[in-house]
C-alpha cells in the first residue's frame, strides 16, 4: 500500500521489539464484541490510475463555470486566480505545515498571517484583523456574538439585504437566544434599520454591496447606532468591490466581516473559503480566532507569534471567546499572495473592470427590455423577470448557460421574490457571454 511505509519484515521487527505476537494484541483494550466484527460495504485499495479515473468521471458530471457563459454570484464569485498563487500554496512548506504553535520553525506561516492581517485591516479600513475565519457566513455569526459580548446587550437586527444563507447561519448560531430580529428581504434596496435601533441594541448587521447588488451608504446607520451605543457590523461578500468603493471603516463600521474567496480562491462548490474579520483596536480582546503579533526572539531578531491566546479555547476552555480552533490558513495564504500580486494598482483596475463588465451586462439587459432593480451596483444586480426565474434558469442551463441565481432558491415560499434573478459579472465575463445570455433569455421569455 503506497502510503504505508512498512514492509511485512518491518512490522515483524517492530512487534518483536514490542514483545507482541501480532498487531491484534495491541488492540487488547478494545472490547472483543466490536473489534473487527464487520465487513463494510466498501472497496479495497486501488491503483492511483483507477482512483483518478473514478474521480474524473465524477468531475465530468459537473458543468464547470468555464464551460460556457456564466453569471452566478450571490456570495461566491468566479475570478481569475494567477497560476503563481496556486503553485505557491501547493509548496510543501505551506501545504503540509501545522498550525504555527512553535514559532521558531513556523515563521513562514506566521509572517504570512501578519501580512494577511495587515492587508485585511487596510482593505476594510479597520484597525485590526484576525488571522481568518472559516468563511464569511460564520464570521458574520461570530461578529454578532462578539458585539453582544462587547455591548453586553442582546438585540441584533439583520438587514433585509443580508445574504439569506448568512442570515440563516446567524439564526442557527443564536438559536434559542433572545433578541435577534431579521428584517424582510429588500430586493429593491429599500428599508433601513435606523428606526429599530434603541438602547438595548447590541448591533445592526448590514451587507454592502448587498445580496441584491445595491450599494449601501452605511454612514448614517453608523451614526445612529453609535448614538445609541450600538455597533455597526458591515458584511462584504464581494471583497473585490473594495478596490473601487469606500472602505466600511471609513464609513463608521465597528466590525467588518467579509468573504475573501474572490481573491485567490476558486469556487469549489462553496468551500473551503476564507472569512475575514476586522474591528476597532478597542475590541481586539473580544475577537474570536487566531491573532498573529510581532515580537522579537532571544537574539533580538524580529519574529512573529500567535498571541492573545487567552481568548482561545485551548487555553480558556469553556471561557473562550469562541470554540473556533481551525482557521482557513491555506486560503488566507492564497488571498495574501493574490492580493500582493494585485497591490493597490491591480486591485483598483480589477474592481473597475468588474464594474465595467457589470455595466455592460446591465445595459444589455435593459436594452432587451428587462427590468434591472438596481440604481447602484458593483458587479452584481437583480433583474425582475416577467415569470418565475427558476424554470428559466433551468432551461438556460440545458443550453450551457448558467444564468444567475433565482432568489427563490434561497427564499422559498415568498411569491414576491419568485421572479427575481441575481446576476453577477466579473473580469471573465466577455461581450460574447453577455450576448449569448441575453439572446437566450429573450428566447425563453418570448
Amino acid at each position: 500500500m503506497r502510503y504505508l511505509p512498512h514492509s511485512a519484515a518491518d512490522r515483524e521487527h517492530m512487534l518483536a521489539t514490542i514483545g507482541a505476537a501480532s498487531i491484534d494484541e495491541l488492540f487488547s483494550t478494545v472490547p472483543k464484541s466490536v473489534l473487527g466484527t464487520f465487513s463494510p460495504d466498501l472497496p479495497d485499495h486501488q491503483p492511483e490510475f483507477a482512483v483518478e479515473a473514478h474521480m474524473r468521471a465524477l468531475a465530468g458530471k459537473n458543468h464547470a463555470a468555464g464551460d460556457g457563459p456564466f453569471f452566478v454570484g450571490a456570495g461566491a464569485y468566479r475570478h481569475h486566480v494567477p497560476a503563481t498563487v496556486d503553485h505557491l500554496i501547493q509548496r510543501s512548506e505551506w501545504l503540509t505545515a501545522y498550525t504555527p504553535y512553535q514559532p521558531e520553525i513556523s515563521q513562514g506561516t506566521l509572517q504570512m498571517l501578519f501580512e494577511f492581517q495587515t492587508q485585511v485591516a487596510n482593505l476594510t479600513g479597520m484597525d485590526v484583523a484576525n488571522a481568518s475565519m472559516y468563511d464569511g457566513s460564520t464570521a458574520t455569526a461570530e461578529a454578532v456574538l462578539m458585539a453582544r459580548r462587547i455591548t453586553k446587550r442582546n438585540k441584533v437586527f439583520l438587514s433585509g439585504g443580508l445574504h439569506p444563507q448568512y442570515r440563516d447561519t446567524v439564526v442557527t448560531y443564536l438559536s434559542g437566544e433572545e433578541g435577534l430580529e431579521c428584517l424582510s428581504p429588500s430586493p429593491e434596496g429599500q428599508g433601513d434599520i435606523v428606526d429599530h435601533i434603541d438602547d438595548q441594541t447590541a448591533a445592526i448587521v448590514i451587507q454592502t454591496p448587498d445580496f441584491y447588488g445595491h450599494l449601501r451608504n452605511v454612514s448614517a446607520l453608523a451614526e445612529a447606532a453609535h448614538a445609541k451605543g450600538a455597533l455597526l457590523i458591515v458584511v462584504v461578500t464581494e471583497i473585490v468591490s473594495l478596490g473601487l468603493l469606500e472602505a466600511p471603516g471609513a464609513l463608521g463600521a465597528d466590525i467588518v466581516v467579509a468573504e475573501g474567496q474572490s481573491i485567490g480562491n476558486p469556487l469549489t462548490f462553496g468551500g473551503p473559503y476564507v472569512g475575514l474579520l476586522a474591528c476597532r483596536d478597542k475590541f481586539v480582546r473580544q475577537m474570536p480566532g487566531r491573532l498573529c503579533g510581532e515580537t522579537v526572539d532571544a537574539d533580538g531578531q524580529r519574529g512573529f507569534v500567535l498571541t492573545l491566546s487567552t481568548r482561545e479555547q485551548h487555553i480558556r476552555r469553556e471561557k473562550a471567546t469562541s470554540n473556533i480552533c481551525t482557521n482557513s490558513g491555506l486560503c488566507a495564504l492564497a488571498f495574501t499572495i493574490h492580493l500582493s500580486l494585485l497591490g493597490e494598482k491591480g486591485l483598483t483596475r480589477l474592481a473597475k473592470l468588474n464594474h465595467a463588465r457589470a455595466v455592460a451586462l446591465a445595459d444589455a439587459l435593459e436594452g432587451a427590455g428587462l427590468e434591472v432593480l438596481n440604481n447602484s451596483f458593483f458587479n452584481e444586480m437583480t433583474v425582475r423577470l416577467p415569470s418565475p426565474a427558476t424554470p428559466i434558469v433551468e432551461a438556460l442551463a440545458q443550453k450551457g448557460i448558467l444564468a444567475g441565481l433565482p432568489v427563490s432558491r434561497l427564499e422559498p415560499g415568498k411569491p414576491e421574490v419568485e421572479n427575481l434573478l441575481v446576476l453577477a459579472a466579473t473580469e471573465l465575463t466577455t461581450d460574447a457571454d453577455i450576448a449569448a445570455f441575453v439572446d437566450s433569455l429573450k428566447g425563453e421569455l418570448a
Binding site: P5, P40, V51, M55, A59, W94, D135
Partner: protein, 489 residues
C-alpha cells in the same frame, strides 16, 4: 536569513497582474467611490514568487520531517488528492448553480457520506461543518434540538472529562451548557461508575474522546454509553482520534450518538498551516432527524439537495454546502487506501506508537503504563525531575535535532505532558532516528547538560520568541509609521 515583509518590498507602483485600466464613471456607484488610497503595496510576479518561496523555507512541514504531535495526526498528504481537487469539474463549480449541473459534486457528497457511515456504523452524516470544532457545535446542536423536541430542554449540563480537548468545554459553553468535569481513573480512562455518579435528569450529554487524549481506548465505553442513554442523555464522541481505529472499530457499535471526523487529520486533507479543516458529523438514528441543512437526498439516479430546514433540522451552520474541496481530497484518499488500507493504516499507527513506547519506556516516564497504547503515547515530566529541564525546554531541543516537538502540556491530566503520535506515515527508519534522538536528549538532560535545552533552539530560523511582549504590547499589523521610525533609527 530574515525575509522582509511584503510591505517592505513592494510599493503602490508595483503590480504582478496585467489588467487594462478601464474608465468607469460614477453614475452607478451610489456616491460610494473610494476616495482614500488603498495602502496595499504590490509585488511584480518575480518578486512575489521569490518572497513566498523564501518565506516558506522558514517553516517546518510534514514533507520536510516528522511531526510527533499527539492528537494532531500529522500524516502523509498524497498529492493525488491535491490534483483531483483541482479538476475544473470540482474547482470551477459554483455552489448555487442549478442542481442539475452539479450531479458530480453531489455524487462526491453521497459517496463520502457512504464511506463515513460505513466506517462508523451510523445513520446519517452532516457534511457541512467547516472544521472539528464546528462539527462539535453541529453535534451538540443536534443533541440540543433533540432534547427540545422531546421536551427535555431543561437539561443544561454536559459532562466532559478532564482530559478533553479545549474545544469540548468551549462548545458546550457556546451553547449555554454548564460543564461538569469527570475525573479519569488511575489508568487514564473514565470509569462507568464516575459517569453514573455524575448523571442526572439535568445532564444533556457526555462529550468523550475515544481513543482518549492519553492515547488509550476507553474500555468501558459501551457501558458508559448505556448508562448515558439510560439517563436520557446523548453520547457525543470527539472523533479527533479516529485515526487509531478507522476500519477496525465502528463508533456506532460503541453506542455513540454523534461524532465529528476531522477530514484534515484522519483522511489527510492537508493542514495548510492551520486550516482549512472539515468536520463532518456522523449521527445515530436518534439524532439523524435533527441534522442541519444542507443534505443530499437520492432519488433514483438523481441526487437532490435539501437546502431548507425541514421538520426537526436545527438549521444551517454555514452558507453553501461545506468544504467541497476537502470532500474531494478525503474521498480520493479513502478510495486509494480502500477499506483494507484504512484498517492497515490504523493498525500501523498503533504499531508505531507502541514501538516508540517500547523503545523509550526505560528512559521516559509513562503515567499510565502496563497496557498497550493506541496511536499515541503519553509521557509526563517526572523523568526530568531534578534536571532543570522543562518539558518545553526538551521540546525546543528536539527542533535542533530536526524534529517538530511533540504535543506539550496536554492533556492536562498529567504534569508536564509529552504526547507523541507518530501516525502510520513514518517509516521504521525514521522512527529509529527519532527514538535515538529522544534517547540521546533524555540521557543528556539527566546528565545535566542543561544548556542544550534551555538555549534551544539554536539551529532554527529564530531562537525563542518573546511571547509576553507580543501579548502585552500587541502589534498586529504593519504600518508605514513603523517603517519610518525604523528608518530614522
Amino acid at each position: 536569513p530574515a525575509e522582509p515583509l511584503l510591505f517592505e518590498i513592494g510599493d503602490r507602483d508595483h503590480s504582478g497582474v496585467d489588467l487594462p485600466d478601464v474608465e468607469v464613471d460614477d453614475s452607478r456607484l451610489g456616491g460610494l467611490r473610494r476616495k482614500a488610497p488603498l495602502d496595499l503595496p504590490g509585488l511584480t510576479e518575480p518578486e512575489a514568487l521569490r518572497h513566498y518561496v523564501r518565506l516558506s523555507r522558514r517553516n517546518y512541514s510534514i514533507d520536510s520531517g516528522m511531526y510527533p504531535l499527539g492528537s494532531c495526526t500529522m500524516k502523509h498528504n498524497p498529492r493525488l488528492n491535491e490534483k483531483m481537487a483541482r479538476l475544473p469539474g470540482f474547482a470551477d463549480v459554483h455552489p448555487l448553480q442549478p442542481v442539475s449541473t452539479v450531479q458530480g459534486a453531489l455524487g462526491i457528497m453521497e459517496q463520502l457520506s457512504h464511506w463515513l457511515m460505513e466506517l462508523t456504523n451510523t445513520a446519517a452524516v452532516a457534511l457541512s461543518p467547516k472544521a472539528g470544532a464546528h462539527g462539535e457545535l453541529c453535534g451538540m446542536m443536534a443533541i440540543k434540538a433533540a432534547h427540545e423536541a422531546k421536551g427535555q430542554g431543561h437539561r443544561k449540563i454536559v459532562l466532559v472529562p478532564e482530559s478533553a480537548h479545549g474545544t469540548n468545554p468551549a462548545t458546550a459553553a457556546f451553547l449555554g451548557y454548564s460543564v461538569k468535569s469527570i475525573d479519569a481513573n488511575e489508568n487514564g480512562t473514565v470509569d462507568v461508575e464516575a459517569v453514573v455518579a455524575a448523571l442526572s435528569d439535568d445532564v444533556a450529554a457526555i462529550m468523550l474522546t475515544n481513543p482518549n487524549t492519553c492515547g488509550l481506548f476507553e474500555s468501558q465505553i459501551i457501558e458508559i454509553a448505556k448508562a448515558v442513554h439510560d439517563a436520557g442523555a446523548y453520547f457525543y464522541c470527539d472523533g479527533a482520534n479516529f485515526n487509531a481505529i478507522m476500519g477496525v472499530v465502528r463508533p456506532g457499535d460503541l453506542g455513540i450518538d454523534a461524532m465529528h471526523i476531522n477530514l484534515h487529520k484522519t483522511f489527510s486533507t492537508p493542514h495548510g498551516g492551520g486550516g482549512p479543516g472539515s468536520g463532518p458529523v456522523v449521527l445515530s438514528e436518534a439524532l439523524a432527524p435533527y441534522a442541519p441543512v444542507p443534505f443530499i437526498r437520492k432519488n433514483g439516479e438523481n441526487i437532490g439537495l435539501v437546502e431548507h430546514a425541514e421538520d426537526g433540522s436545527f438549521g444551517r451552520l454555514t452558507a453553501f454546502h461545506g468544504q467541497m474541496g476537502m470532500y474531494v481530497r478525503a474521498l480520493t484518499y479513502m478510495l486509494s487506501h480502500g477499506a483494507d488500507g484504512l484498517a492497515q493504516a490504523a493498525r500501523d499507527a498503533v504499531l508505531n506508537a507502541n514501538y516508540i513506547k517500547a523503545r523509550l519506556d526505560d528512559l521516559f516516564s509513562a503515567p499510565f503504563d502496563g497496557q498497550p497504547v493506541m496511536h499515541e503515547v503519553l509521557f509526563d515530566d517526572s523523568f526530568l525531575k531534578g534536571t532543570d529541564v522543562s518539558t518545553l525546554d526538551f521540546a525546543k531541543a528536539m527542533i535542533d535535532e530536526g524534529f517538530h516537538p511533540m504535543t506539550m502540556y496536554f492533556p492536562l491530566v498529567v504534569h508536564g505532558a509529552m504526547l507523541i503520535e507518530p501516525t502510520e506515515s513514518e517509516s521504521l527508519q525514521t522512527l529509529d532516528v527519532f527514538i535515538e534522538t529522544m534517547r540521546d536528549l533524555a540521557h543528556d538532560a539527566k546528565a545535566g547538560n542543561v544548556g542544550r535545552f534551555t538555549q534551544a533552539p539554536m539551529r532554527a530560523p529564530l531562537r525563542r520568541l518573546d511571547e509576553t511582549r507580543a501579548a502585552r504590547q500587541p502589534k498586529l499589523k504593519w504600518s508605514q509609521e513603523d517603517q519610518r521610525a525604523k528608518a530614522a533609527e
